[in-house]
């Protein structure tokens, strides 16, 4: 019944101003990245919220305790804000062709990036500067890579991460609170280009 539809890609063209427009329009990645940046940074902050809570407990210096407690609170709030913000966005329904639970990546993330921060309980100024620089590097890597989906804080609150494929090759991630099975329809909201969040699990 349904025919295979042609992809919406355009054919070749060579006229001057049009070509210039085409080149400008065909490279939206930088602008798209800018629009996703706030969401990704908020998710990054929230992913480190548990770490800052642990550090606030471990550190002995009052200043560091307060700073880490504040960062932890900001991180939890940022994660909640993203979820609340996208709960107001209307989702669309897609048939998930393949599903893979990516919970293991969260455990790997914890081991690789979080543990180095919790080894020193009384850091000196150099340690703190080093940690801040390390955190900034991780933030850049986190935002620029697929790590943005891996968020221990969301796991703590019952969210699970799935790698999914839709259609003939679109691949991305889905955050959901309920198990997702392949071949099912999922109503989900686009958080970023490659990240959906499902607030409900829909019919099969």
């Amino acid at each position: 019944m349904a025919q295979e539809r042609v992809p919406p890609a355009a054919g070749p063209g060579s006229d001057g101003p049009r070509e210039k427009d085409a080149i400008r329009d065909a490279s939206p990645s930088r602008r798209e990245r800018a629009s996703d940046l706030i969401v990704e940074l908020a998710l990054f902050m929230s992913s480190y919220a548990p770490l800052f809570a642990i550090l606030a407990i471990r550190f002995r210096s009052t200043g560091l305790i307060l700073a880490c407690a504040a960062l932890s609170a900001v991180g939890f709030a940022a994660g909640a804000a993203v979820l609340v913000r996208f709960h107001q966005v209307t989702g669309s329904t897609w048939t998930v062709r393949t599903v893979e639970d990516r919970g293991g990546e969260v455990a790997g993330y914890l081991a690789t990036y979080l543990l180095p921060f919790v080894t020193v309980s009384e850091p000196d100024v150099r340690d703190v500067v080093g940690y801040v620089l390390f955190l900034m590097v991780i933030a850049v890597i986190y935002v620029r890579s697929s790590l943005v989906q891996i968020n221990p804080t969301l796991y703590l609150f019952g969210w699970r991460l799935y790698a999914i494929e839709i259609g003939n090759g679109w691949s991305g991630y889905l955050l959901a609170r309920r198990p997702v099975r392949k071949g099912t329809d999922v109503a989900a909201v686009r958080m970023t280009e490659r990240l959906f969040v499902s607030y409900t699990s829909r019919r099969s």
Binding site: V6, P8, A10, G11, D25, S92
Partner: protein, 304 residues
Amino acid sequence: MPGDVLGLDELEIPEELSLIVAWKQREGYEGGEVRVVAGVASYLREACERTLEQVSAREPRVYTPDMQLEEDEELLVLEDAELVGDSQIAAIVLPTEPLPIINAQSLPRRPLQLYAVRIRTDSGDVAFVRKTNPHTPIRAGRMFALLGNTLSRIGGPVFSLDNHFDLIVTERGILALRQSYFELLFRETPALQRHIPEWVNAINANVPFAGDGAARLAERAATDGRLRRRLRSIAERGHLSTVTADQIRKHLQDVGLSESAFLDGDQLLYDEANPFALVYLLNEDFFQGGLTDASFRSDRKSPR
């Protein structure tokens, strides 16, 4: 009921929907998805429901290239999965995978050609298409401002959405409330292009073309939408299957046209300098006024 034709009977608009926009890119179209909040989605749902009411209130009419739709009373219906399957517009408004996100930063500078609401139903995806640019550009020397307690400048792009749609597209076919928009968006699909040789051969099989006229007409029709529309009309009516060269000769005399311009013996003459004349003739677009001897040419006609 027309909705039955495309499986839209008793269609209910679900909570989940996508707002899709499309713009021209080189020789084709590209599209993206605009995320909408609940208030906008609710308005779009109402627009879909209003469109379905309009559909059920109108008389369905199967599309023919010659038709002239009475747009206040009639509804164009085309059940053609192949045409939908080949259409770039359909691929955008009924995407099989998520489209790029469009926001204030990634909004293309080119004017948007349409917007559409795509929903998932039990019988497949359905798109409600409005053939207008939802992005209202700020003209030089003007600005948009929003009045709350104070008047504040609107910094981002402003979208204006109507309370109705022009077309409904499903995987099985298209319902159109505006014929011109349907033809603008869907008549140039590869599916139609592929039929050109078949249409020309059908004419040639009955009343042969002189020389390589058939090949030249097919070649010209590949780049000319008006020729294609008439060739399709001739093929779909199928009236030439019983027409002879003598009947064509008599018709030429009746409408006051020169036989030598259209016929070479019993063969059709295709004139590259005036490619439309022969197709108008075969499509019965030339006629004399019933009350006068005035000669006319019809651009659209409907069977009585």
